[in-house]
């Protein structure tokens, strides 16, 4: 079976899983398919799925960014801190975005130009950026933002569709075009497939990696600010542990943790699977902690399943010849 065939069957599996979950949800609640509930479904995890889009590019490129949740917290805390110092909110938002961009550039510098493993660099970032966020707001909860900011995060602008959902849709389109329709996207795959070959064929590996990490920082910051707008207040520990969900979404979507393969359609399906699963478990009164356990199990399963399938396939071929 070709790689393409295997990917297709992975997406088929996701589609089947999604159908089962949706049917079970519909049986449990008749309101499930209403436009309000579906918008709500997205809205409850919108920040995670926004970051999952850029994480897809990073993992296909053969790297990982564990610091995204901390950058989300950092951007929100910089915003709150600037706002409390008396800056107007638009300036504070720009400040938060710049902080995220700076954090991304910082990660990118060490990974792309110094050549350190991204696992170690972004683990340091996971701890360090969270530390900076805590220094800024300590153990307070900063709120009292202008009404328009909270409205932005909480209320729909096109029916039940909020600004965050619109931003997600636009970003999804942009990432799809970049990954599957641009030269940069091809380079992302090439580098993820074989770093050495890419380097020897003259691909500017460093600038591609730098671009991706900078973009990851900026988008994580945007997601953090949207999260602040949705919650209406900012704390130092906000978005802690989000990296688990984000990485799970990407890997469940069929993106290989070793880089070089995967596509955005799979990630889109996996987003739907996880959102519906969480929503369904919520409807069934399953607590948040069990939900997190299930997501963790799903993460392991999403890598274990292709491995097992490959094993079986090899045995099957071995028997035939």
């Amino acid at each position: 079976m070709t790689i393409l065939g295997r990917l297709k069957s992975w997406e088929g599996l996701l589609l089947g899983l999604l159908a089962v979950i949706v049917v079970m949800n519909i049986l449990r609640s008749p309101y499930f398919l209403g436009a309000g509930n579906i918008a709500n479904l997205f809205q409850l995890s919108i920040e995670k799925i926004i970051v999952a889009l850029i994480m897809t590019l990073i993992i296909i490129n053969g790297e990982i960014d564990l610091s995204v949740a901390s950058i989300m917290g950092l951007a929100a805390c910089v915003l709150a801190w600037l706002f409390q110092m008396g800056a107007s909110l638009p300036i504070a938002i720009v400040g938060g975005l710049l902080a995220g961009l700076a954090a991304g550039l910082f990660n990118g510098f060490w990974v792309a130009y110094v050549g350190l493993p991204s696992l170690a660099v972004t683990l340091a970032g996971l701890i360090g950026f969270r530390g900076i966020a805590r220094i800024l707001v300590e153990d307070r909860a900063i709120g009292g933002f202008p009404v328009w900011f909270n409205t932005l995060g909480q209320q729909g602008i096109l029916g039940p569709i909020t600004a965050s959902i619109l931003i997600f849709a636009v970003l999804f389109a942009i990432v799809a075009i970049v990954l599957h329709g641009s030269a940069l996207g091809r380079l992302v795959y090439v580098i993820g497939n074989n770093l050495q070959a890419a380097r020897y064929s003259g691909v500017r590996v460093q600038s591609v990696k730098m671009t991706l990490f900078a973009a990851s920082g900026l988008i994580a910051a945007l997601a953090g600010i949207l999260y602040a707008a949705r919650l209406g207040s900012v704390r130092g520990d906000m978005a802690t542990g989000f990296e688990l969900d984000i990485i799970t979404i990407v890997l469940l979507g069929g993106v290989s943790i070793f880089g070089g393969s995967g596509n955005l359609a799979g990630v889109g399906l996996s987003i739907l699977v996880i959102l519906n699963l969480r929503n369904g478990m919520g409807l069934a009164n399953i607590t948040g902690n069990t939900q997190t356990s299930v997501i963790g199990a799903l993460l392991i399963f999403s890598v274990l399943a292709p491995n097992l399938a490959q094993n079986l396939q090899r045995r099957w071929i071995g028997r035939k010849t």
């Binding site: 990982i64 060490w110 110094v114 050549g115 350190l116 493993p117 696992l119 170690a120 660099v121 683990l123 340091a124 970032g125 996971l126 701890i127 360090g128 950026f129 969270r130 530390g131 900076i132 805590r134 220094i135 300590e138 130092g236 688990l244 990485i247 799970t248 890997l251 943790i257 070793f258 607590t287 902690n289 069990t290 939900q291 997190t292 356990s293 997501i295 963790g296 199990a297 993460l299 392991i300 890598v303 274990l304 491995n307 097992l308």
Partner: protein
């Protein structure tokens, strides 16, 4: 310089410079804080270091084989809570049996990780990120978010943290810290001199070569995870003894401190080099920072930012400085073996770009 090159390996330079850094930090904090050089400061640092050290030893074994174990914080929480509940219910449980239960439970949780990594062929970061969430979720669900309290525990356990094995000039060495030191010594010698220990290094420094010479890689990686889980279980017991009150949140984030200790201690995150003793130095560095920043009255919130920076510096110095050192040492070795005539050196110099 020649003497240095002949008697000290590059990795040891790394550990010696960390030791120097710890001394510099102590002198620095001593000049900032009144009454820093007292037995009280020493005792505080020593008792806070014990838990991180034990977990970091297990983490070192896993990292040596080119893997990582992010689930240790949850394992510590699970064992502390489970053994605490057990002791709360059966007061006359044999102390040794309680410790063994903690170690066995930790080893079982570690075995699940090891099984998935070694035979499921899943990258360890994915497995342990998953089990980090799963173990914690199971703990919260099974416990119903209740808390183990000090007064439910038997007296010997509550008194354990204050038990001192010996006292040197007013500096007490608590039994729990000496336990950590004993663990470090055992595993330092074990990884240094036992065949199984050297095999951990072999797998980490070159997995393909290790497979070619017929090392049982899967079993060894499995063993590393089981040992890491068992040591996390022991750390869970120490946590229970030290704090007494165990919530479902206990041990959360410990994996980051352990990885930080290991990396700061000079263990290469890509496996194959570093020592258990180095990891302990890393843990001491972190413990010193933690306790001293607390005393400095600048907020504890600085701790994480400094820790992140420290990890980054450690990894960067590994990549940049250590490689230069090794090259320098390598050249020195050549010189010692065959002192080349002057013309040959010139010729070699001219050829090199």
């Amino acid at each position: 310089m020649k003497w240095l090159q002949r008697h000290v390996r590059p990795e040891q330079v790394r550990e010696l410079s960390l030791l120097l850094l710890i001394i510099v930090a102590v002198v620095f904090f001593g000049s900032m804080i009144d009454g820093y050089y007292t037995s009280r400061t020493f005792n505080r640092i020593v008792s806070s270091v014990a838990i991180i050290t034990i977990v970091a030893v297990g983490q070192t074994l896993v990292v040596l084989t080119r893997n990582i174990d992010l689930s240790v914080g949850s394992v510590v929480g699970c064992t502390a809570y489970f053994v605490g509940t057990l002791l709360g219910r059966y007061h006359d449980l044999n102390p040794l049996l309680a410790v063994l239960t903690a170690v066995a439970l930790g080893a079982a949780l570690g075995a699940i990780n090891g099984l998935l990594v070694a035979w499921g062929r899943i990258p360890s970061i994915i497995v342990t990120l998953g089990t980090l969430a799963i173990y914690r979720g199971i703990l919260v669900d099974l416990s119903g978010a209740r808390t183990v309290t000090t007064d439910s525990l038997p007296g010997w356990l509550v008194g354990l943290p204050r038990l001192n094995l010996m006292s040197i000039g007013g500096l007490d060495l608590p039994a729990l810290f000496m336990l950590a030191v004993a663990i470090v010594l055992i595993f330092h010698l074990g990884t240094g001199y036992l065949a199984v220990g050297r095999r951990f290094y072999a797998i980490g420094s070159n997995p393909d070569a290790a497979a070619l010479i017929g090392l049982p890689i899967r079993r060894l990686v499995f063993l590393a995870f089981v040992l890491s889980g068992a040591l996390a279980g022991l750390a869970g017991f120490v946590t229970l003894a030290r704090y007494g009150n165990i919530t479902v949140e206990s041990g959360r984030g410990l994996e980051l401190a352990a990885v930080a200790a290991v990396v700061v201690g000079g263990v290469n995150i890509f496996g194959g080099s570093g020592t258990v003793l180095g990891a302990m130095l890393g843990a001491i560095m972190i413990g010193t920072l933690e306790q001293s920043l607390y005393r400095l009255q600048i907020s504890e919130f600085w701790r994480d930012a400094i820790l992140g920076l420290l990890i980054l510096l450690a990894v960067a110095s590994d990549a940049v400085i250590l490689q230069r050192l090794r090259a320098l040492w390598g050249r020195a070795d050549l010189k010692i073996v065959t002192e080349p005539p002057a013309e040959a050196t010139v010729a070699a110099g001219a050829r090199s770009p």
